[in-house]
């Protein structure tokens, strides 16, 4: 019985190591192909449009309501200790360092990550990736590389927009609804938010952009058979990306704070 359990655990562990190894090799080959010609900026721009521009609405909407909720919570918490004046600082810090990068990455995962996994998965099962291979065109270079580069570029830009809209949401609730002085709201923010905070948020959003496109492309590229395989790849890409984003968020915070 003990040996049976040990065998099962061992198999799961070996499976995990194999999968992790494949993911790392996949990402390394994508990066090494990204720096080699031919360069196709048109493909990258198309993907930035898909990941970035098409996610704008959802980013603006979630950013606004996140900022508003943060403004409301922050106001009542700070009011207890008579520090409502620090509301702008609290909202900005919360958005820039934590909520902005994490929530915008999760939104992009749901909207663009799942779609990338499904697109590549369908290309795989309908032999479109094989067709590229037979034309002596590397499918990773042609299909995956533009998506990874676009993810790394688009997610930080979306995060910046999320942060700005979120701070405006906090302003609406704090200043317009609760009556915090607008000068204090922005003044404290300007005085206390430092470059290190923005740098932390930027590092996070770049990392999350890479995680989303890497995981989604990997899951699509190694999808199983048929519609069920694509559906599973899509689900796994969203779940795995989200989990990795949250885990990485903690480690980046703990290292850089």
């Amino acid at each position: 019985m003990f040996i049976f359990i040990l065998e099962k655990v061992g198999n799961i562990f070996i499976g995990f190591l194999k999968r992790t190894g494949r993911m790392v090799i996949f990402f390394s080959s994508a990066i090494s192909l990204a720096v080699r010609p031919p360069f196709k900026p048109g493909h990258i721009i198309k993907q930035i449009h898909f990941i970035g521009v098409k996610s704008l609405f959802v980013i603006i909407l979630t950013g606004l309501f996140t900022g508003m909720a943060l403004g409301l919570q922050g106001y009542y918490t700070l009011a207890r200790v008579g520090s409502e004046g620090l509301l702008g600082y609290a909202v900005a810090l919360g958005m820039i360092r934590e909520l902005g990068p994490v929530l915008s990455a999760l939104m992009v995962t749901g909207r663009a990550g799942s779609s990338m996994a499904a697109e590549i998965g369908i290309m795989k099962i309908s032999e479109q990736l094989d067709a590229l291979d037979t034309m002596a065109i590397n499918p990773v270079k042609y299909v995956v590389v533009p998506k990874i580069i676009a993810g790394i570029i688009a997610v930080p830009l979306l995060t910046a927009i999320f942060n700005i809209i979120g701070i405006l949401g906090g302003y609406l609730v704090g200043v317009e609804l609760m009556g915090v002085n607008p000068g204090t709201f922005f003044g404290e923010m300007q005085n206390r938010v430092v470059f290190k905070d923005i740098h932390l948020g930027f590092v996070k959003s770049v990392s999350f952009g890479a995680i989303i496109s890497w995981v989604s492309c990997f899951e699509g590229y190694y999808t199983g058979f048929g519609a069920e395989g694509v559906s599973k790849a899509t689900t796994v890409s969203v779940v795995l990306s989200s989990v990795l984003i949250l885990i990485c968020n903690y480690f980046i915070t703990s290292v850089m704070l």
């Binding site: 369908i122 032999e127 094989d130 034309m135 002596a136």
Partner: protein, 246 residues
Amino acid sequence: MIKLVDVYKTFNGQEVLKGITLEIPKGKTTAIIGRSGGGKSVLLKHIIGLLKPDSGQILVEGTDISRLNNRDLNKIRNRFGILFQGAALFDSLTVYDNIAFPLREKTRLKENEIRKLVDEKLAQLGLEGMGYKYPAEISGGMKKRVGLARALIMGPEIMLFDEPTTGLDPIMKNAIYNLILEMHKKFGFTAVVVSHEIPDIFGIAHHVAMLNNGVIAESGTSADIQKSTNPVVTEFISGGKKEEII
């Protein structure tokens, strides 16, 4: 020109190819026939290097492509064209862009030169006026013709056809066969056709190899195979036992 020597391939413990040895002569059409799920497409994917054998050699003009690195393999692949079973068209591109794709990616031709070549191929394959449509908007037969146009646009020396007529009506089937014959006469490529369309395949193939249970049961000229007394071949050609339905 192409030679397979003692090729073995196993998927998840299931042996699909069990020591295939086959010679595909230059400039001729060779058909690989056999029952569905018998490994014909797997064999074809080995010939173009999409799959690597567990053991054995795939020789293309003496070079074992199963041992080449990607760069050298791509040089050999540039000489191939392939029509996939499901056509494998890029669904995000129009018919025109699908056919133009290899020219845009692999050559430095100007757009007006590409347009001329693509229009020529569209006309040859009876696809005039279809260039603006997406693969999802055209029929199965048209998809096969677009796939064929894309495969032929670079003027390949070796053409691989994976069940080019499966799922087509008799008229379309004959049109595709005529097209393969016509293109073969015009370009003189070496062709490998995977099919289980009996007896049509004997009309276009110079040589036929019968794949059964992962091995070549018999190979020879079309006439030889049709006259074969090998029970595996005769059963396949006759379609096995038939129950009276009416």
